[in-house]
């Protein structure tokens, strides 16, 4: 799923300064699972904002709403019933949702309430970690199911680098060294010979480096 962090409260307050009637918009998908932009978080931010603005003598009228998905036109279209007299939308969806709502409703600003960070997993309750970078050419079959592109700080294809210590990355001691994990798994499965292969230079054109990406399924088009 897509992982995000809520923006600092001060930054949100600053963005909303010119507005009195806001729509605080959440999403029921990824940002709900990673506890940043679901119904609960929308309600919490709404109370925080209302209290802060009341204290400042600048009361704010907040309408809360959570879409099933912010990245799907069907749900985004339904927002038309909700927007009404709102001056601004503060979106707690990921960067995709924020933009997609903004593309549909051009006469109302859609501001980001979160920083979208990575594609990851819930490692344990309250802990999310990165697993994929969307490079467009998966090599997990060659690296024992562990992605060096997203999980090695240097995206090495022939790691580990000299900074791997005690199983951890030199950049952050709490981050496991992806190449230690890969090598351990090669060993577990008696496949260390695979490690000896020189991994070829990657073609990054399938990644962001090839420009913004698009996928079309002609058979699904209506």
């Amino acid at each position: 799923m897509i992982i995000a962090n809520r923006k600092p409260f001060e930054e949100i307050v600053d963005m909303l300064k010119p507005y009195k009637r806001i729509l605080l918009l959440g999403c029921n998908e990824c940002v709900t699972v990673c506890a940043v932009g679901g119904a609960k978080e929308v309600a919490v931010l709404s109370s925080e904002l209302a209290m802060y603005r009341a204290k400042e003598g600048q009361p704010i009228d907040i309408k809360e709403h959570v879409l099933e998905r912010n990245c799907d036109p069907e749900y985004v279209e339904a927002l038309i019933q909700v927007i009404g007299d709102r001056e601004v939308i503060l979106s707690m969806a990921c960067g995709c949702g924020i933009q997609f709502v903004g593309e549909r409703y051009r006469n109302i600003p859609v501001l980001p309430g979160v920083n979208t960070t990575f594609y990851g997993v819930t490692e344990e309750h309250g802990v999310w970690t990165e697993r994929c970078q969307g490079c467009g050419n998966c090599i997990l079959d060659k690296t024992m199911g562990i992605c060096p592109v997203s999980r090695c700080a240097k995206s090495l294809f022939n790691g580990p680098c000299g900074g791997s210590q005690g199983g951890n990355c030199e950049v952050n001691k709490d981050t496991p060294c992806a190449w230690q994990l890969i090598v351990d798994r090669y060993k577990e499965r008696n496949m260390l010979h695979r490690y000896l292969e020189l991994q070829p230079i990657k073609d990054w054109s399938t990644s962001r480096d090839g420009g913004p990406r698009k996928r079309v399924r002609e058979d699904l088009k209506i």
Partner: protein, 307 residues
């Protein structure tokens, strides 16, 4: 123009090689490089110039190599994949060769988060092993990545680094093997303080017959103080200093700690000279280049062969 690497000549003639490291200044002045070059000239076979080491912006390695070359020194160009993509790397490889640089050390580079440009975008388009292979292909096949032919191939003696003290320990030798297969001809190791662990590593290298395929230069960094030893042990990625060495430095009064550091360096060189599979030393006296001649002399490695 000097046509061949002095380092390669020294190593292939079977001499115990001595190289040193020179960190370029944080400014546009050639003075410090000439000064460091002047101190090292005649005491080492080549001088290795760091490429924005630890992610700190400094005068470029290529420019410093050219300045050293003009001073009559055989430079080793360090090149990291952190800051350049394959277009820039290959272009600089060609440029370096055209400028008469004859040695290259291929590295991935310290992560940018360690340096003074923490917000920098790390490039890492290719990794160090792929860079080694790229230089080899350019030199031996006259081709760039993708197969296009060069009008003239670069002439470079290809080096790589290896850290025998990083983890996973038992796989370090396998990775060295990958570097050799990719095209590495000489290896510089991380600074050695833990001689038993280094011996274990070089034993594994010999068991694989790798010491017959590549020249290995043991890394030496003289300690300036007990504080430096503790700092390096705790904060520098990939470096481990045994408690015994730190204690030895601590037992000496601060004013004599430099002398003790030099003694440890010389003892380490002596130990390396006796180790089968070691073909030389690489002295990385960080901002202390002036000490290198003394270490070389005391380790009975002076004068250097003139080939």
């Amino acid at each position: 123009m000097k046509r061949e690497s002095n380092l390669k000549k020294v190593l292939s003639a079977g001499h115990f090689a001595v190289t040193a490291e020179c960190g370029p200044p944080k400014g546009a002045d050639e003075g410090p490089i000439k000064k460091k070059g002047g101190m090292l000239k005649g005491y080492v076979d080549s001088v290795n110039v760091t490429d924005n080491q630890t992610g700190v912006v400094r005068l470029s390695s290529l420019a410093a190599c050219v300045i050293l070359k003009e001073e009559g020194i055989d430079p080793v160009l360090q090149m990291v994949t952190r800051d350049r993509n394959r277009i820039a790397l290959q272009s600089d490889i060609l440029g370096a060769s055209a400028l008469g640089i004859r040695n290259i050390l291929c590295l991935s580079g310290d992560h940018q988060s360690f340096g003074n440009q923490k917000g920098a975008k790390g490039v890492f388009d290719i990794d160090s092993i792929q860079l080694i292979h790229t230089v080899k292909t350019m030199r031996d096949e006259g081709k760039i990545i993708g197969g296009e032919a060069l009008t003239a191939p670069p002439q470079l003696f290809i080096g790589a680094a290896e850290n025998p003290f990083a983890d996973p320990f038992s796989y370090r030798v396998l990775r060295l093997g990958k570097k050799i297969r990719a095209g590495a001809e000489f290896i510089q190791t991380q600074c050695i303080y833990d001689i038993p662990r280094f011996k274990e590593w070089i034993g594994m290298v010999r068991d694989e017959g790798m010491d017959q395929k590549v020249y290995i230069l043991g890394g030496i960094t003289p300690l300036k103080s007990a504080k430096m030893a503790e700092y390096m042990n705790g904060h520098v990625a990939g470096i481990t200093i045994p408690e015994g060495i730190i204690d030895r430095m601590k037992k000496v009064p601060p004013k004599d700690q430099r002398e003790e550091g030099i003694k440890i360096a010389i003892e380490t060189i002596e130990a390396l000279k006796e180790m089968k599979g070691i073909h030389g030393v690489h002295i990385m006296a960080i901002e202390w280049e002036e000490i290198v001649p003394q270490i070389v002399e005391k380790a009975n490695l002076y004068p250097r062969p003139s080939l």
